[in-house]
């Protein structure tokens, strides 16, 4: 009952949806409208994770555009990879990618995932996500703003 009162008192906190960006063609027409995402931390400092969780929080509310985080790659349509790919995570990342059913996409979130960021050349780093998996979408930023993540996800869902 207290929860109910809290919900009523707080009301809606989600920011109004920004206008849809215009594309020439959607990235994956089969996934239009609903994309299930599996997040993989390939060696991130957890900055990107905080931004991803806030993108799925009540304020930015990415779920209203049809993007949803799942608990298993078997249920996923796309991978959300953060951080530079470390040596320990290279094999699990590839296996996770293999476990996702076709058609599948990979989103590299953050500068580290795009080009290893400050960790470039470190002894434990294999390379950027694109060196391990075919990346279809990149979100720049260190860490990226939740708005940027939501915009990238909207590009996937085309909503």
């Amino acid at each position: 009952m207290r929860l109910w009162r809290k919900i009523r008192r707080t009301g809606r906190v989600a920011e109004p949806a920004p206008p849809r960006a215009a594309h020439d063609r959607p990235l994956a027409p089969e996934l239009r409208g609903s994309v299930q995402l599996r997040h993989v931390d390939a060696g991130s400092c957890n900055g990107c994770e905080i931004e991803i969780s806030s993108a799925f929080g009540p304020v930015y509310d990415a779920e209203r555009y049809g993007a949803r985080l799942t608990a298993s790659p078997r249920h996923a349509d796309a991978l959300l990879v953060t951080g530079p790919v470390t040596r320990n995570m290279a094999v699990p990342l590839r296996r996770t990618y293999d476990a996702v059913p076709e058609p599948k996409l990979v989103v590299a979130v953050g500068d580290c995932a795009r080009n290893c960021g400050v960790f470039a050349g470190a002894y434990g780093v294999v390379g950027a996500v694109a060196d391990v998996l075919p990346v279809s979408l990149e979100v720049p930023g260190c860490p990226p703003h939740p708005e940027a993540i939501v915009a990238a996800l909207r590009e996937l869902t085309d909503r």
Partner: protein, 713 residues
């Protein structure tokens, strides 16, 4: 002499032959199987044998215990054959008695003072037939099961004593047979007592409980017989009408306590989950599928047949004890991690359900609704038959697992499907039957029981109005938990990967053991698809208990209840279910045919290979249920944290222990045991060993007696 009597005599003769064949002392020193236990048994072991056994090495002993020598094997085969013939003859005798071929036998010279009186009627015939059928499966199974010679010799004796109990027709005969049965089973329970201390403890519990039960029955029946011209059951039956209500109630309660303890009913069940697991597995099957039934037989015989139905509170008591056992038994079974202990608690549960039926039948009969009473009694008796079939199968396959792996701990089993395919199939069949779902046989009897309870509501009386809905809820809850229990036993015990080396090295049992299981499995399937075949006989057996019961269920393929609206067709249900499963599988195959397929690695979170330590164990499977029923089960948790020497903040090791104790045992038995012990210790102060003091006791006791006599006379 008619067919039934001839078959019964043949059964006893064949059992004797089996016992003699199995019990003959061996000629060759190497094959004298298991003389260790022999010293304790009835089967005589010569002094020569004993000296040889002392000299023999442990390896020899193990080999001879497994029946490795050819002569030992042949003797086992012949003894098993005699045992099977004895069981078959008992089935024929029982079925003939149920079909109406009653016989009676009076042998005044056999026992001093009382003599022996045997009468076979349909009710006794039913229990003779069930015991015989279990004995067939057990005898065939016993050929290959590793057991010592005294065990092989005592099994037919145990069967014979169980066959005699339901046909005993006088108080003296009944009590002698009952005690013979208790002693034979006790001998079998303690067969392994040298190797495992738990066996000796189980044996002590069983010995004490079964004899207390005997004392209770003795008090009840002797009190009854004191008010009758003779101790034959016919005389008791005619004298029952003139008893005062108090005496009738006392007789019923005393015998109920004795019979309920034999049937493993809560709170007198404490021996059952100890003794059944510790006995050799085919003996567990005999005890759990045949011996406990005789407790139900005793209640039916004394409560219904001899005392005439009696009053309502008797049956309310029976129903309440049954409902309590059903729920408590299955709750303990669902959290149990020992395969045979789980099956033992499941016996308590099923016998509880039977007593729910018996109690409801008694209440209906007291209220005068004999059709419903007949329905409830037939449901209870059908459940006895069904339980005997699937519990034999389950205990025999558990024995096969025990033989192959040497462990009963579910948390150490697993992965047996590939290694023991036949045993796995048999256990799956038994688990399906025991979980009371439509293709299994327990479903039919529980359905009949529920029909009786639900339609019992209009029967007048406040007690009925309150009891029946509660009983329906109990049966439903029990059925649900039974499904969880057997999913756990089968899924954790047989599927997935082996959790220990023993399970990994398991090898399939010899064909004779599989054949024994197959006999029980066939009985399960037969009862599941055609229960109508046994129902007329059960109705006649229920007719002995409640003389105006009539036939409550009619029809060959479709069972139609005559008392109330309701029908069920087990055969069509099985066919429809099989067709539905086939259709769903075919549909999935068709739907998936056009899609592209890709072979992918098993998802293991991207990390290394999956190990057996990641599997669900019996403990973790039952954990949610244990949490839900926390208040009832009261599990004991024990966490031991060892800190490093340098700092209390560093942890060196953590030890976690959890057990679910039998709460009733804790609350009810331990205080009594402690009190008895304290009493004994206090009594020790009286006996100091001083002769003067003992003379003083004698003198003062004599004087006190004389004073009492002088005052009262």
């Amino acid at each position: 002499m008619n067919l039934a009597a001839a078959a019964f005599a043949a059964a006893l003769l064949a059992a004797a032959a089996a016992a003699v064949t199995a019990g003959m002392p061996e000629r060759r020193p190497v094959v004298a199987a298991g003389t260790r236990g022999g010293r304790r048994s009835v089967a005589a072991t010569s002094a020569v044998d004993r000296r040889r056994s002392a000299a023999r090495s442990a390896a020899d002993r193990r080999r001879s215990a497994a029946g490795a020598s050819s002569s030992g094997r042949w003797r086992a085969v012949v003894a098993g054959g005699f045992g099977a013939v004895s069981g078959l003859a008992a089935v024929v005798a029982g079925v003939a008695a149920m079909a109406g071929q009653t016989w009676s036998l009076d042998l005044p010279g056999v026992l001093p003072l009382a003599g022996v009186r045997l009468v076979a009627d349909p009710l006794g015939g039913l229990f003779v037939a069930v015991t015989g059928a279990v004995a067939v499966a057990v005898a065939v199974y016993g050929i290959g099961y590793p057991a010592h010679r005294p065990v092989r010799a005592a099994v037919p004796l145990f069967v014979a004593s169980m066959l005699l109990v339901p046909v005993a027709a006088s108080v003296g005969t009944f009590l002698v047979c009952w005690e013979l049965m208790a002693l034979a089973s006790l001998l079998l329970v303690v067969a392994d007592h040298r190797r495992r201390p738990a066996v000796a403890e189980a044996g002590r519990w069983y010995a004490v409980m079964t004899h207390l039960g005997l004392v209770a029955i003795l008090i009840g029946l002797v009190l009854f017989a004191a008010h009758a011209p003779s101790d034959s059951f016919a005389a008791l039956r005619s004298a029952a009408g003139e008893l005062s209500p108090a005496v009738r109630g006392l007789v019923f309660v005393a015998t109920l306590a004795g019979f309920a303890s034999k049937a493993g009913i809560v709170p007198l069940h404490a021996w059952l989950p100890r003794a059944h697991p510790e006995a050799p597995s085919h003996v567990s099957a005999l005890m759990s599928a045949a011996m406990v039934n005789l407790g139900v037989y005793g209640i039916l015989r004394v409560g219904f047949d001899l005392l005439g139905v009696g009053t309502g509170w008797w049956w309310l008591l029976v129903l309440g004890a049954g409902a309590l056992s059903a729920v408590y038994g299955i709750l303990q079974a669902v959290v149990s991690t020992d395969l045979k202990r789980l099956l033992g608690y499941s016996t308590t549960e099923n016998l509880g359900l039977v007593l729910v039926g018996v109690g409801a039948g008694g209440m209906f009969a007291v209220a005068g609704n004999h059709l419903l009473a007949g329905l409830a009694l037939v449901a209870a008796l059908l459940h006895v038959v069904n339980h005997a079939a699937f519990k034999t199968l389950l205990f025999l396959s558990a024995g096969s697992v025990l033989r192959a792996t040497g462990t009963r701990d579910l948390d150490r089993l697993g992965g047996l499907r590939a290694r023991l395919p036949a045993t796995t199939g048999m256990f799956a069949l038994g688990a399906l039957a025991a979980s009371a779902l439509p293709p299994g046989n327990a479903f039919v009897s529980e359905w009949l029981l529920l029909q009786g309870l639900i339609h019992g509501l209009p029967v007048s009386g406040v007690a009925t109005a309150i009891t029946m809905p509660v009983a329906v809820a109990v049966v439903a809850l029990t059925a649900g938990l039974a499904v969880a229990t057997f999913v756990k036993a089968f899924g954790v015990g047989f599927l997935a990967r082996p959790r220990s080396e023993e399970a990994e090295r398991a090898a399939e049992s010899p064909p004779s053991m599989i054949a024994g299981m197959a006999v029980a499995g066939l009985a399960c399937v037969g009862l599941a698809v055609a229960p109508a075949a046994v129902l007329p006989g059960l109705a006649r057996a229920a007719g002995v208990a409640d003389r105006s019961a009539g036939e409550p269920v009619a029809g060959a393929v479709t069972l139609r209840l005559t008392a109330v609206a309701g029908s069920l067709s087990p055969l069509l249900l099985v066919i429809a279910l099989a067709a539905a499963v086939a259709a769903v599988l075919a549909g999935l195959r068709l739907a998936g045919a056009g899609l592209a397929r890709r072979r992918a690695r098993l998802w293991d979170c991207g990390a290394g290979p999956l190990s057996p330590r990641m599997e669900y164990t019996a403990t973790s499977f039952a954990e949610p249920l244990q949490r839900i029923f926390d208040d009832v089960l009261q599990p004991e948790l024990d966490v031991d944290v060892t800190h490093a020497r340098e700092s209390a903040y560093l942890v060196e090791s953590v030890e976690f222990r959890r057990r679910v104790p039998d709460r009733i045992e804790r609350r009810l038995y331990e205080p009594v045991l402690a009190a008895v012990q304290a009493w004994g210790r206090a009594g020790r102060g009286l006996a100091t060993g001083s002769v003067h003091r003992y003379l003083g006791y004698g003198f003062s006791a004599l004087t006190a007696l004389l004073i009492v006599l002088a005052v009262t006379r």
